[in-house]
Symmetry: none
């Protein structure tokens, strides 16, 4: 049996966001925004080059919650997302979740969730509420 | 030149969530939670069969915002997500966004975002804040 | 050294067109036509269910030309395509190419190209002109 | 209700052809021609580096027809393709369709279809015949 999680516990996953990831994320969601698919349009944009879908970052948060901590069986209730900076293709990002509180009456936890890039810049942050496994 | 968006304006996209979508979403995000990848585990879970990643739904919201309305050039600032029901493989879901308010001082809009399934059940709802193109 | 090809020579490849093939073809080309992605819309269409992209069939012709006969090094000059019937998801189709003529002055061949389904119905036919390897 | 299309009407989509697109197109069609998959073979070929599948370009034409103009519901009848120049990995190509004629007795249109690269070179051109939605 798994140990129960406790406040302050953290987990993280690091991953390089490849061009293939962006192509496949676009195909699954149907999001073919030129910022992700058109090099020329992206060069003329405020970002100067193609960026990953912001929601790909949200998928990374979901992965840490479901794979690492609280782990398999976790059920998502809520997530808030604040997009701080773009993730560029070939950035290597670290997605971290940390337990902030656990309800006493129900197995429901609130976690702080952050994504930082290889330059330690915060690209995405927010809060998860999950039903513990 | 595109018309400016106005309060009350809506857009939506309908899509069947295939098994391939779930496989690819898992591979891009690394979220290999048994609920998505293990038929036997999913059968023994509260859902009774494999479900799509909740964040795949979030990606659909992003697609409507970036492709339809406000459309290309939209920049994500915030998103809240309340997961109401699971999306099962082969569900056909409709993702809708509607402009609730636009700031007077800046081109920033707040939208209500919902996903419903083929039985008109609400599976995901929340709020987006975006910088208009 | 490979034997030169001759008039009348044939080659074919058989393949099941899976749902994953259709999802990935859509993502590479950006073709998210509801006939391919929306089960409900496809059910209401003249076809009654989701169909594969016609051009996925064209890609199969290219595969036989480049992999089997004339084989690696073949350069595409022209292709004509007549779409006769839809390819449905899970159809198993046979793609056949046959050399009809070879120019005497240049290593350029004309081939008849056909795709048939598991019921021996002709779904796609046309003509290729290629520069021989 | 959508406006009927008229002669002279045009639509186009621009997209960067990524390495991932070429890998996925190869996997869906089975076309693993060394010109697309083998860097060393491609370097020794007339092209000097890996090229995209010509039929990937054909898929882009299909996307513009089905997504933009004439739009959803369009049924493919015929396509001719003349391959003028290769599309290299990382080229950004513009796919354009223009209505040349519409039959008076039936809702059937003929369109000129072209693909140009970032240097305005014509890489693929041909003609489509489609049943209008």
């Amino acid at each position: 049996m798994r140990e129960p999680v406790r406040v302050g516990q953290r987990a993280s996953i690091r991953k390089t966001i490849t061009e293939a990831d962006v192509v496949l994320f676009g195909c699954v969601t149907g999001d073919m925004n030129p910022l992700h698919t058109d090099d020329l349009a992206a060069r003329d944009s405020r970002f100067g080059k193609r960026i990953a879908h912001g929601m790909l970052g949200a998928g990374l948060i979901s992965a840490v919650l479901g794979m690492q901590m609280p782990g398999p069986g976790t059920i998502y209730i809520k997530q808030t997302l604040n997009f701080r900076k773009p993730i560029f293709i070939n950035d290597t990002v670290t997605t971290t979740v940390e337990i902030k509180s656990i309800r006493e009456d129900k197995p429901i936890a609130t976690l702080r969730t952050t994504i930082t890039n290889q330059d330690d810049e915060l690209v995405l942050e927010g809060e998860s509420v999950v039903l513990l496994p």
